[in-house]
């Protein structure tokens, strides 16, 4: 048993770190590290920088233009980019639809769809959830009727993250209304510019516009955009949900946010001294760091198991639960650390118009970030659902 990284892995970390030092624009890391709003251009710009380096798709095999990294390398890359304040790589194209296309799509689909995902020329979004189908995804109702060489789609998707920018959406649609719940679902790729699609923004409680409703009104989709077999979509959906679990603990992100908390607590005052010197606040931070430290080891254990060929399986649910709890605790404590200055609501300042800003970015973003990240325990399978999964899969209850 050796918990240290191999010399090769350490060299890889150094390489990533140096690359980030030389290539991550400070303008971007400043936005990320202060929780300022990232534009579509910011996200695309960063992915294109990585693309030039061959690192845009950490999880892809070499065959499709990925770097062919081991799970440990992926984990190192994720940690280093998070710590450096790199913008996130959006999962919808790279980590969600792409693996499905790689594994179940036709050669034509692979050639057509994968390269623009890699190069950030196509922006994808996810069409899974519906108003009546959240945790109980299989009860989805959006219909796709086969008419000759096309499908006609009617229905509604919701919680479509950053769908307002999307070129494409991958959808679960019901193709056989008479089959049992999980059967009769198909996996369809739909051009967002098709007539009949409309996108309605959902404003979130932090003031941001991050998610959308997407409506389909007799939208015609070429049959060639069906992935795999008709009515087998649930299989692909399950594959997708089970596939991309690496990084689910968010340890790198957690470390970055913990560092921010410490920095903020060093700047903010309590009774005339830095807040971080207050014994009880310091102990609160220490407790979080201890939890995160243990989680990092759990994450590495799972990563090592994957590396040696085991499936991460439901252990990933544990990582998701604890990782999101820790992150939410950090956001709460940051909001607490800034005291009354968590109150001012100046979204324009977080978009770059800082003339009227009444407090540092970290204070102005503290409450919006806290509220926005309530999503961590809701989206992507709520923590309650994760506990059900563990209960069933590991414990056999």
């Amino acid at each position: 048993m050796d918990i240290n990284f191999t010399p090769e892995e350490q060299a890889f970390r150094k390489e990533v770190r140096e690359f980030l030092q030389n290539n991550l624009p400070q303008e971007l890391s400043d936005k990320v590290l202060n929780h300022k709003e990232l534009t579509k251009n910011d996200l695309v710009r960063w992915q294109k920088i990585l693309y030039t380096q061959g690192w845009a798709a950490p999880g892809w095999p070499k065959k499709f233009g990925g770097p062919g990294w081991t799970p440990v390398q992926k984990s190192i890359f994720e940690e280093e980019t998070a710590l450096a304040g790199a913008p996130p790589l959006l999962p919808f194209g790279l980590a969600m639809v792409a693996p499905v296309i790689m594994n179940f799509g036709s050669k034509e689909q692979q050639e057509r769809f994968l390269p623009p995902i890699l190069s950030a020329d196509a922006w994808w979004c996810q069409g899974y959830s519906e108003p009546g189908a959240g945790s109980d995804l299989a009860s989805l109702k959006t219909r796709a009727e086969r008419q000759g060489d096309k499908y006609v789609v009617n229905g509604q998707k919701t919680w479509t993250t950053l769908g307002q920018y999307a070129d494409w959406i991958f959808c679960l649609v019901r193709t056989d209304p008479n089959a049992k719940k999980q059967e009769g679902i198909s996996f369809l790729l739909i051009d967002m510019n098709t007539p009949g699609i409309s996108v309605r923004p959902i404003q979130l409680l932090d003031g941001g516009h991050e998610v959308n409703e997407v409506f389909f009104d007799n939208v015609e989709v070429p049959a060639e955009n069906l992935v795999g077999e008709e009515n087998k979509g649930w299989t692909y959906a399950k594959f997708l949900l089970g596939h991309e679990r690496s990084g689910i603990a968010g340890v790198g992100r957690g470390k970055m946010e913990l560092r921010r908390l410490k920095q903020i607590a060093s700047k903010e005052q309590k009774n005339g001294r830095p807040l971080i010197e207050d014994p009880s606040f310091r102990a609160t931070i220490a407790r979080i760091e201890m939890d995160l430290d243990a989680l990092e080891m759990t994450d590495l254990r799972v990563t090592a198991a994957v590396q040696s060929g085991q499936s991460p399986g439901p252990e990933a649910s544990m990582l998701k639960i604890r990782g999101t709890e820790i992150r939410q605790e950090i956001y709460h404590r940051i909001r607490e650390a800034v005291g009354p200055y968590a109150l001012p609501f100046q979204p324009q300042a977080l978009q770059g118009e800082t003339d009227d800003a009444v407090a540092p970015d970290y204070a102005l973003s503290s409450a919006p970030t806290y509220f926005n990240n309530r999503k961590l325990t809701i989206f992507g399978g709520s923590n309650e659902i994760q506990k059900n999964i563990i209960s069933k899969m590991i414990l056999g209850l």
Partner: protein
Amino acid sequence: MDFSLTDEQRMLQDTVERLVQDQYGFEQRRGYMQAEGGFTREMWNQMAELGLLGVPFPEEIGGFGGGPIETMLVMEAFGKGPVLEPYVATVTTAGQLIADAGSDAQKEAILEPMVGGELILAFAHGERDNRYSVTQVSTRAERGGSGYKLTGHKAVVLHGDSADKLVVSGRTSGDTMDAEGISLFLVDADAKGVSIQGYPTIDGLHAAEVKLDGVEVGEDALIGQEGKAADLIELTQDRGALAVCAEAVGAMTMACDMTLDYLKQRKQFGVPIGTFQSVQHRMVEMRIELEQARSATMKAAAKLAGDSAAERRHAVSVAKHQVGVGGRFVSEQSIQLHGGIGMTEEYALAHYAKRIAMINNQFGDADYHLDRFAADMEVPETA
């Protein structure tokens, strides 16, 4: 021991609850927020007409003659809006402070117009680095000419952008951290050297940064004794704390009720999500936190009405700590149990959840009150 309300209290409660129920619908509230300063003068005037702005003041000046219990009743009902108007700023903090310690001239000039809705006040004590401290004041009030000259920066002054007059704390002697040497002044919002930058707060209210650049005020602007304001500031902050605790109880009640309704209606896997036991137990825990917050707030109100400062500090800290910790739980879990819909601005729940959470950042957060309580804590002699 008697937890029942008097007839007058019950009428007051009914009045405010009806006001909120009839005129603080979700869409109505969104409309009010668009007005300058984040609330409408129409509603403020209506509150004045109903006598709400006079609740804690003597009948001679048009008040209701109420005490902290009455404030609690009003604020709890307001929490069900949650109401946007500058009630805590004007009535509970600045207004009561003047009623307590103002000169006769000050009272005459301020209280009646305030009760009538014609004068809005704000309590400008906080500063950039003082967090929730009672006595950390760096704003200087130098004697000069026929009065004082104020220089400093007052931070996150609730409804400071709507105020006609500000109650400002400034140091007439000593250093920033000294308990002695703090004084209070009545300052016109449009006085020379005052600049006010207002902004909305994330929970839908308003606040302002107030900068004082050599603002000259007369002798008659001094409230109470020079250099002796610390106790009055603490009392005022405790009154503010009680008011927002009661508001939190109202908002927590709504968050619990909305969540319970949702659990009964929303179906997943073919059944209402309220049939899942882990969800049921979470809902039970939310209700326990609500009841504990209600109890602690009632006690704080009773002790604010009493004459022991030690008991008041004790009870207010218990209440504000409970509202901080238990409110966080209710706010977060009400969103969690709603799922995505609980995070949307178009849905009323998010607004209650935000207000409950942000109340922790006003008048001392849970840590502040834990510190104060622990420092005061009685330790029995050992045998």
